[in-house]
């Protein structure tokens, strides 16, 4: 079954029939974590880099911000029995407008924060499709851990 992960949301599953999907990743960043041994996986769609922008909102919904959302997702898959050492992390999104003078680089900031949080947690990025000026859709298949990116009407596996 397809489960949509909305903006500022996350979902985790251990049902091999599930597909997690998040649409419309612009400058937002999407992360999938998957443990291939026990086939537990999760996906998050974080909108803004740092929770200090609005700590009250971050407390209510940590998934909105990359710095609070990524640890929340990691904890959620660990709670389902995943082993941190086996986690396969894949990243998509973090686009920016063309020739940007830096003001609208929310995408790059999201990506930088994401890398930092993963690094702190000893999780390496196995594959990614980030940056550029395209909007992306991200799929995670729970049966195999296959991750697919759709943009410009084309699908490709990462």
């Amino acid at each position: 079954m397809n489960h949509t992960v909305g903006i500022s949301e996350m979902k985790v599953s251990n049902n091999p029939e599930d597909v997690l999907v998040t649409y419309s990743l612009g400058s937002c960043v999407g992360l999938t974590l998957y443990d291939p041994v026990i086939r537990v996986g999760g996906m998050i769609h974080c909108m803004l880099p740092l929770s200090r922008l609005d700590p009250a909102k971050a407390q209510m919904n940590p998934c909105m911000f990359t710095d609070t959302g990524i640890p929340t997702l990691i904890q959620a898959v660990l709670n389902m029995g995943a082993n941190k050492k086996r986690l396969i992390a894949k990243v998509a999104g973090a686009a920016s407008p063309l020739d940007d003078n830096g003001i609208f680089k929310i995408g790059e900031r999201n990506y930088t924060v994401l890398r930092k949080v993963l690094w702190k947690n000893d999780i390496l990025i196995a594959a990614e499709d980030v940056g550029g000026t395209v909007a992306r859709t991200l799929f995670l298949y729970l049966d195999t851990g296959k991750t697919v990116i759709r943009s410009g009407g084309k699908d490709r596996e990462i």
């Binding site: 903006i7 649409y23 419309s24 400058s27 686009a95 407008p97 003001i103 929310i106 395209v134 909007a135």
Partner: protein, 291 residues
């Protein structure tokens, strides 16, 4: 005829808006519209009445108490805001169609239109500036030219996409090179043929190149431009053109947009936009809006 002339001719022949929509838009031109006149016009249409009340009670606008009538909405929110909501209700349906060439399923263009108008609204609130309802209308209609290009003419987008993404030139400039015209110009021609106010036509015509807008309407074009770029960041309802546009440094400077402002406004917009999208039966981040 050149391909440009054929396209613009097609834009002029797109069916006009319903009379009542034009009557509402006419009121946008009149800064001193009487409350009673607006109330009467809205209440004549049960669909519009219900839409305006739903928007008035969305998290963007409502206060502590529920707003139960158009009269109450006028008193509590002011004529200007209610007029904006009425215009939104009137023009939104034209953006509902799928836009094939731009890889936008039904609802996507409407989603991006509502996102841009909501962003404009939140940006105005954040900057504490008073924005003319015409700017809000222009924000809703800014990409309407894509309907003509993608649906009525069904242009082959491939050469435009290749030019834009391989050679990294802004999507509107790629359209211009391939077609001899682009979605802002086509949209402006369409809206002009519908008899919409010049400020709206110009803000739509120059929403990707506000620096070239005639001075009298430049501020409006700049505002729609900034709201469009900010709205695109969230990715909702964005088509194959994605974020492949440039931001005008002049417009950014004019409204003193910083990264902090961009993030604050985006955070507020995403809070309020789902209510607004719900009024038009489109949902944030659902399957029909993926691209």
């Amino acid at each position: 005829m050149s391909s440009k002339e054929i396209i613009l001719e097609k834009a002029r022949s797109v069916a006009a808006l319903p009379i009542q929509t034009l009557e509402i838009i006419d009121l946008v031109q009149n800064p001193d519209v009487a409350m009673s006149q607006l109330q009467e016009l809205i209440e004549r249409d049960p669909g519009m009445t219900s839409n305006v009340l739903r928007m008035a009670n969305s998290s963007s606008f409502r206060g502590v108490y529920e707003i139960g009538s158009i009269r109450e909405a006028l008193v509590r929110l002011g004529t200007k805001t209610v007029l904006e909501l009425a215009v939104a209700s009137a023009v939104a349906p034209v953006a509902r169609q799928p836009v094939a060439g731009y890889d936008m399923p039904a609802g996507d263009l409407l989603t991006h239109s509502v996102v841009t108008a909501t962003t404009a609204n939140e940006l105005a609130k954040h900057l504490k500036i008073d924005v003319n309802p015409r700017v809000f209308t222009a924000a809703l209609l800014h990409d309407i030219g894509k309907t003509v290009l993608g649906t009525f003419i069904q242009v082959n987008p491939r050469p435009i996409i290749d030019l834009a993404f391989v050679e990294h030139i802004p999507f509107d400039e790629a359209e211009l090179k391939v077609l001899g015209t682009n979605h802002p110009e086509v949209g402006a021609v369409l809206l002009e043929s519908w008899g919409l106010p010049k400020t709206i036509v110009n803000a739509v015509a120059f929403h990707h190149k506000p620096d070239f807008c005639p001075e009298s309407d430049r501020s409006a074009a700049e505002f729609v431009h900034v709201a469009d770029i900010l709205g695109r960041l969230c990715g909702l309802g964005v088509g194959v053109d994605g974020l492949n546009y440039t931001a005008s440094p002049e417009a950014v400077h004019h409204f003193r947009i910083t990264t902090h402002v961009a993030e604050e406004v985006t955070a507020k917009m995403i809070d309020t936009v789902s209510d607004m999208l719900g009024v038009f039966d489109v949902q944030a981040g659902s399957e029909s809006h993926g691209n």
